[in-house]
C-alpha cells in the first residue's frame, strides 16, 4: 500500500482496474464518465494494454465479449443511456459466462435525461436490463476508496464465478475528488488461469466453444439451471453491507452509494435531535443482503429508504422486511441529490 493520492472518481476506478490486472478496455464517451475513457486511453499504452474507442456502446460491449472470451481481464465503462445500449451484450456475456467488469456512472433519466448524478438505473442493474434469466454481481460504492477496493474485488469475483460484475456508481462519485490509497499492481502471473475454457487456439486439445446458445429447449433449460446454481453460491458467499449506529436503532435508514454516504450525516443529525436512528447500507446490490436487513426488523420500529430515484430499491427493502415493520420512502429524481436537511425534515415528520 502506498500513500494517499488525490484523484477524481472516474480516474480512481480506471487506475484500480489496471492495478487489478485489466489490460483491455473498450468504451465510448458519455458524461459523466468520459474521463474514465480518457484516462484509459492515456494509461493503457503505458502498461502494454489495449485501449480502443468503439464506434458505439453496442460495439464496445461486443469487443468486450470477444476479448473476454480469450480469458483476459477486460472492462468497459459508460453512463445510463450507454448502459442501456449495452444490454444486448450484457445478456450475451452473462449467458456465455464471461468474467467482465462493467462500470455504470448513473445519470438522470429516462431517455437522454441529464448529466447529473442519479440512482434510477437500479432496476436495470439488479433485476436484469437485458433479456433472459441472468444476474450480475452489482456493487454500489459510497466513496472513492471503496470504489477502488470494489473494482479489484469485482474482477476477482467475476473470475471466480465466470460471471459479469457491475460497479454501479453515480455522477457524484464519478466527478468528485478524494484522497485514495491504491493497492499494489497485481502480478499478472498470479491471475487465475482460464486456459481450460478460453478461446486461445485449439493447440493440442479439443476446440473450446463459447456461446450463450442452444436451440434445444431442454439443453438450454439445463444451462439456465447451471447458472442458477452459480447464482445461489454467489448469494451465499458474496453479500456485503455496512451498518452505522444500527445496533440500537429504532429508525433504520436504508440507502446505498452516494445516498448511503449522505445518510450517515442524516443519522448523526437525527441522533442530535434525540431520534435513535441508524443506517443500513447495502454494498452488494445483487446479491442483496436481505437476511442482514431482515434481522434489523426484529428490533427497529420503522424503515426509511432514501434514494436518488423514485423508489427502486425500496422494493428490495420491503422484500427483506417482509411486512414486519413499516417501510417509508423518500427520494428525488432527475439528477437532484436530496440534502441532509430535507431528508431529516421528512424523517422528523415520520416519527
Amino acid at each position: 500500500m502506498a500513500e494517499k493520492v488525490m484523484v477524481k472518481g472516474t480516474e480512481a476506478i480506471g487506475e484500480a482496474a489496471i492495478r487489478a490486472g485489466c489490460r483491455l478496455y473498450f468504451g465510448y464517451p458519455i458524461t459523466p464518465q468520459s474521463e474514465l475513457t480518457e484516462y484509459m486511453s492515456r494509461r493503457m499504452p503505458q502498461v502494454d494494454g489495449v485501449f480502443l474507442q468503439a464506434e458505439s456502446e453496442v460495439a464496445a460491449v461486443n469487443m468486450l465479449y470477444g476479448a473476454a472470451s480469450t480469458g483476459h481481464r477486460v472492462m468497459t465503462s459508460t453512463s445510463s443511456p450507454g448502459y442501456s445500449l449495452m444490454q444486448e451484450g450484457v445478456s450475451y456475456i452473462a449467458g456465455a459466462e464471461l468474467p467482465v467488469v462493467f462500470v455504470n456512472v448513473v445519470r438522470g433519466g429516462p431517455g437522454l435525461g441529464d448529466i447529473q448524478p442519479a440512482q434510477s438505473d437500479y432496476f436495470q442493474a439488479t433485476k436484469g436490463g437485458g433479456h433472459g434469466d441472468y444476474r450480475l454481481v452489482v456493487y454500489g460504492p459510497e466513496s472513492l476508496q471503496e470504489a477502488v477496493e470494489l473494482t479489484a474485488k469485482a474482477f476477482d469475483v467475476a473470475d471466480k464465478y465466470r460471471n459479469p460484475a457491475l460497479i454501479l456508481a453515480d455522477g457524484m462519485l464519478g466527478q468528485m475528488m478524494e484522497p485514495v490509497e491504491f493497492p499494489d499492481f497485481r502480478d499478472l502471473n498470479t491471475l487465475p488461469d482460464h486456459s481450460s475454457w478460453a478461446m486461445q487456439g485449439a493447440k493440442g486439445r479439443e476446440p473450446h466453444k463459447i456461446t450463450s446458445f442452444d436451440i434445444n429447449e431442454y439443453v438450454l433449460e439445463k444451462m439456465n439451471l447451471r447458472y442458477q446454481e452459480k447464482y445461489k453460491k454467489i448469494i451465499e458467499n458474496e453479500q456485503m453491507w455496512e451498518e452505522y449506529k444500527a445496533e440500537d436503532a429504532e429508525l433504520v435508514i436504508v440507502a446505498y452509494g452516494t445516498m448511503g454516504r449522505i445518510a450517515k450525516t442524516i443519522v448523526d443529525m437525527a441522533r442530535g435531535k434525540g431520534v435513535k436512528a441508524g443506517l443500513f447500507r447495502p454494498i452488494t446490490l445483487w446479491p442483496y443482503p436481505y437476511d442482514a436487513l431482515a434481522k434489523l426488523a426484529d428490533s427497529a420500529k420503522l424503515f426509511f429508504t432514501v434514494e436518488m430515484s423514485m423508489g427502486q430499491m425500496v422494493e428490495d427493502v420491503k422484500l427483506a422486511v417482509n411486512g414486519k415493520k413499516p417501510v417509508e420512502f423518500y427520494g428525488r429524481t432527475g439528477g437532484v441529490v436530496p440534502t441532509p436537511n430535507e431528508v431529516l425534515a421528512k424523517l422528523m415528520e415520520l416519527i
Partner: protein, 251 residues
C-alpha cells in the same frame, strides 16, 4: 488388402453433419474456408465468430475455437479477440442480414480500422433463417415474405452493395466478390478466401470475400434453378471481381 485414402474432408471441419438445406451454398463455402485453414496450417490458432442466421451453427462445424456473436456484432467481437490475441487468426462468417443490415456499423468500422480479421460474407439476397424476409441486398422487384409485392426503390430503397462501399476504406487489404455456383467459381473463390486470410496473417489489414449464394428454400425454387437464378439475377446486380488486393501474388 490395404486401402489408401485418396480424398478426405478437411481437418478443420469437425465432421458434424451440416444442417443446411439441399442446394444451399453455406456448406460449399464452409468447406473452402476449412481447406484454406488446413493449407495455411493455422487450425490450432484460429478463432472463429459465427453469426446469427442459418450459419449460426458454424462454430460447431469448424474444428477450431469458436463463439456466436449477437446478430450483426461479429466484427466487434472479432475485434476484441484479435486485440487480445494478436498472434491468433480470427475470422467472422456472416450473412447479408447480419452484415449489411443490423451489423452495418460494426463491419464498416472494423474494416475502416483496418482490423486484422477476415470476414466471409454470404450474400443470398434474403434472410434465410427467419423464413425469407427482405434483406438490404434483396433485388428490386424481388418478392420476399416482407416485400410481398416486390421490393420497390421508393419504399425500401436500393440493394446495398457492401463490397463497393467497403472497398473505399483504406483499412481494407483484400476484398473480392465471387460465387460458387460452378466448379470453376469454386476454385476461384478458394484462392480469394486464401488471400483474405493472408491479408490478416501478413498484418496488412482487413480482408473480406463476399460470396453470392443461393437460398433455394426461401427463393422457392429447386437447387439447380437457384444456381441459374443467381447467375441471371444476382450477378448483374452485384459485379464479381477483386476490389482491393494489397496481398499480391504468391511466390
Amino acid at each position: 488388402m490395404s486401402y489408401k485414402i485418396k480424398f478426405k474432408g478437411p481437418e478443420s471441419l469437425s465432421g458434424k453433419e451440416f444442417t443446411y438445406c439441399p442446394g444451399c451454398h453455406h456448406g460449399i463455402v464452409h468447406r473452402l474456408v476449412a481447406e484454406i485453414i488446413d493449407e495455411l496450417g493455422i487450425r490450432e490458432k484460429t478463432l472463429m465468430v459465427a453469426p446469427v442466421g442459418c450459419s449460426v451453427f458454424a462454430y460447431e462445424f469448424f474444428d477450431v475455437d469458436g463463439t456466436v456473436a449477437p446478430h450483426g456484432r461479429a466484427p466487434a467481437v472479432a475485434t476484441g479477440m484479435k486485440r487480445a490475441m494478436p498472434e491468433n487468426v480470427v475470422f467472422t462468417y456472416q450473412g447479408d442480414g447480419d452484415l449489411a443490415a443490423i451489423g452495418t456499423a460494426e463491419i464498416l468500422h472494423a474494416a475502416n480500422r483496418g482490423e486484422k480479421i477476415t470476414t466471409i460474407f454470404i450474400n443470398n439476397a434474403i434472410y434465410g433463417m427467419t423464413g425469407g424476409q427482405m434483406a438490404p441486398t434483396t433485388l428490386l422487384g424481388m418478392k420476399t415474405t416482407t416485400s410481398p409485392y416486390g421490393r420497390s426503390a421508393e419504399n425500401e430503397g436500393y440493394p446495398l452493395h457492401m463490397a463497393e462501399i467497403l472497398s473505399n476504406l483504406p483499412g481494407v487489404a483484400y476484398l473480392a466478390r465471387t460465387k460458387v455456383n460452378k466448379p470453376q467459381d469454386v476454385l476461384k473463390t478458394k484462392k480469394m478466401i486464401k488471400k483474405a486470410f493472408l491479408a490478416q496473417i501478413q498484418g496488412k489489414g482487413f480482408g473480406m470475400v463476399e460470396v453470392l449464394s443461393t437460398c433455394p428454400t426461401n427463393w422457392g425454387i429447386p437447387p439447380v434453378e437457384a444456381n441459374k437464378w443467381l447467375e441471371e439475377n444476382l450477378v448483374p446486380e452485384f459485379p464479381l471481381g477483386v476490389y482491393v488486393d494489397k496481398v499480391g501474388d504468391e511466390k
